[in-house]
């Protein structure tokens, strides 16, 4: 459920009304005063389809992800929207081990086999393969000309993870419909069922081809509660502005059940098992994160109409009690080519600080910290994305879009590197390309 789905009805031939537009209208109807309020109920479904291909360089992750959204007005201003998403993920991904000047042998996530990484290469688990199915429904109910509630429910399932979520958002327009206040609450319940059970936090990695047992737990759960306050305001005839203030609290098992951290010699920085390591151990410890996390967000968006073109710019400030702060700036410029064709360049800048417990490695023999993770996504980095989209309306009032985006993430090292770590690119850049094709129509 998105608070930001404000959208007026599209101008459509044959006096049919866009369901997408009406859906958004019901969520946040402040702009409707300038349009006819008596809207005929449409018997058609509006179908939005998109297909995403996401590909990371250097043989990392590939994702194929089709999305279908179907919307329909079932009564005046009472709207239903369904969404189905299917993900297929394949490829290799780093799980926390550092590159080093030695050949490294690492146990696969299943715990039953190993893989070997040559010296001076970033170890990546190449057995990564998953499919995910997600479905969601939003039901918007008007209570008066100025009041709406949208109820949302989402479900997703993948091989080792299941999620169930519900949400409710109340929106209140002012009489002149120049301003909308909204308040939303959401609840998500997730269950991990990792392959072979979750790895015990801070346990040594055991040789997957040995007979020694890997300490494991079973399944585990986490819950998240979201709150949001929103304000959307017409600034003038060509400018609309939105502010959201969000708070989110997660608790439960927030550790990644597969990720681990390299154990190294405190002087040379090369892999080293600590004293007291169990038989058949490899020099890696499974990570451990706090069991709660509170996040705050501030979000601002402005949409401005120039002579023909439209600027859509947003900023998000994020902070949490894990020590992560981030800034996100997103800029889209819709350049009208005429005859229902447009181009839309896109720029996105993202910068985050590292979590307090983010480490590149742990020193063998030293006392363990309370929490530690080498997940590069909790590190200090800057992400940039450049994209271009082309859109075309067809004679049948359908719309075709295609976009290409190039993403780069560049990581900064955190703390003091040890010995050999100074000779390695311990957190290599991530580069990815997205290709998305979209088509919407009425049915």
């Amino acid at each position: 459920m998105q608070l930001s789905n404000t959208k007026l009805k599209k101008t459509k031939p044959k006096s049919k009304v866009s369901i997408k537009g009406k859906l958004a209208l019901a969520t946040c109807t402040l702009l409707q005063a300038g349009t006819p309020t008596a809207q005929a109920k449409s018997d058609e479904w509006e179908i939005d389809t998109a297909f995403l291909y996401y590909s990371e360089a250097d043989g990392r992750i590939d994702i194929f992800e089709p999305v279908v959204t179907a919307s329909k007005e079932i009564n005046d201003d009472e709207l239903l929207k369904f969404k189905v998403v299917y993900d297929v993920l394949t490829g290799s991904t780093p799980y926390g081990a550092l590159p080093t000047n030695q050949v490294q042998t690492i146990t696969n996530p299943s715990g039953n086999s190993n893989y070997t990484t040559p010296a001076n290469e970033l170890p990546m688990n190449s057995s990564f393969r998953d499919t995910r199915v997600a479905a969601g429904v939003d039901w918007t109910i008007p209570y008066s000309r100025l009041q709406k509630i949208t109820w949302g429910a989402n479900f997703s399932n993948e091989y080792d993870f299941t999620s169930l979520a519900g949400s409710a958002t109340y929106a209140q327009d002012t009489d002149d419909r120049n301003r909308t206040y909204s308040i939303g609450v959401g609840f998500t319940s997730d269950k991990w069922d990792p392959v072979g059970g979750k790895n015990t936090e801070f346990a040594y990695m055991i040789d997957g081809e040995s007979n020694s047992p890997q300490p494991k737990g079973g399944t585990d759960t986490k819950t998240t509660t979201d709150f949001m306050l929103g304000l959307t305001q017409v600034i003038n005839r060509s400018t609309l502005m939105q502010f959201n203030l969000g708070y989110s609290n997660s608790s439960g098992y927030l550790t990644d059940p597969y990720r681990y951290i390299s154990l190294v010699d405190g002087t040379t920085g090369t892999p080293l098992l600590g004293a007291g390591a169990p038989a058949d151990a490899f020099p890696f410890l499974y990570e451990k994160r706090p069991d709660s996390r509170a996040r705050n967000t501030f979000f601002w968006r402005t949409v401005h109409h120039l002579n023909e073109d439209v600027i859509n710019v947003s900023y998000r400030y994020f902070t949490d009690d894990w020590g992560i702060n981030s800034h996100t700036v997103d800029f889209r410029y819709r350049y009208e080519l005429g005859n229902n064709h447009y181009l839309q360049p896109h720029l996105r800048y993202y910068a985050q600080t590292a979590a307090d417990f983010y480490v590149h490695s742990l020193t063998a023999g030293a006392a363990l910290p309370q929490y530690a993770s080498a997940d590069y996504r909790l590190g200090d980095f800057v992400g940039t994305t450049f994209g271009l989209k082309y859109g075309m309306k067809t004679a049948q009032n359908s719309e075709f879009t295609v976009r290409v985006e190039l993403m780069n993430q560049t990581y900064n090292t955190v703390g003091t590197l040890i010995g050999e770590q100074n000779n390695q690119d311990i957190v290599p850049d991530l580069n990815a390309t997205f290709l998305q094709i979209g088509y919407n129509f009425y049915w």
């Binding site: 599209k10 969601g136 600034i235």
Partner: protein, 68 residues
């Protein structure tokens, strides 16, 4: 954070002009929607959720993912 929100709202409310219903022709265009292409934003959010430590800002709820 709350102060930032409050200040932003005050600035916003003091800066805006009253727009009458018949003056909203530009605001009514589909390209002026806060989210003009829902699937595009949905897919972007899903990608960045799996690759960054920050989430949220635009809504509540949403489906979880084992990717992060």
């Amino acid at each position: 954070m709350q102060k930032l929100f409050l200040v932003a709202c005050i600035v916003l409310l003091s800066a805006c002009t009253s727009v009458q219903a018949w003056e909203k022709n530009l605001l009514a265009k589909p390209s002026m929607a806060l989210v003009a292409d829902e699937n595009e934003i949905f897919l972007d959010e899903h990608i960045y959720f799996s690759k960054e430590a920050s989430t949220g800002g635009q809504g509540v709820g949403g489906g979880g993912c084992g990717c992060n």
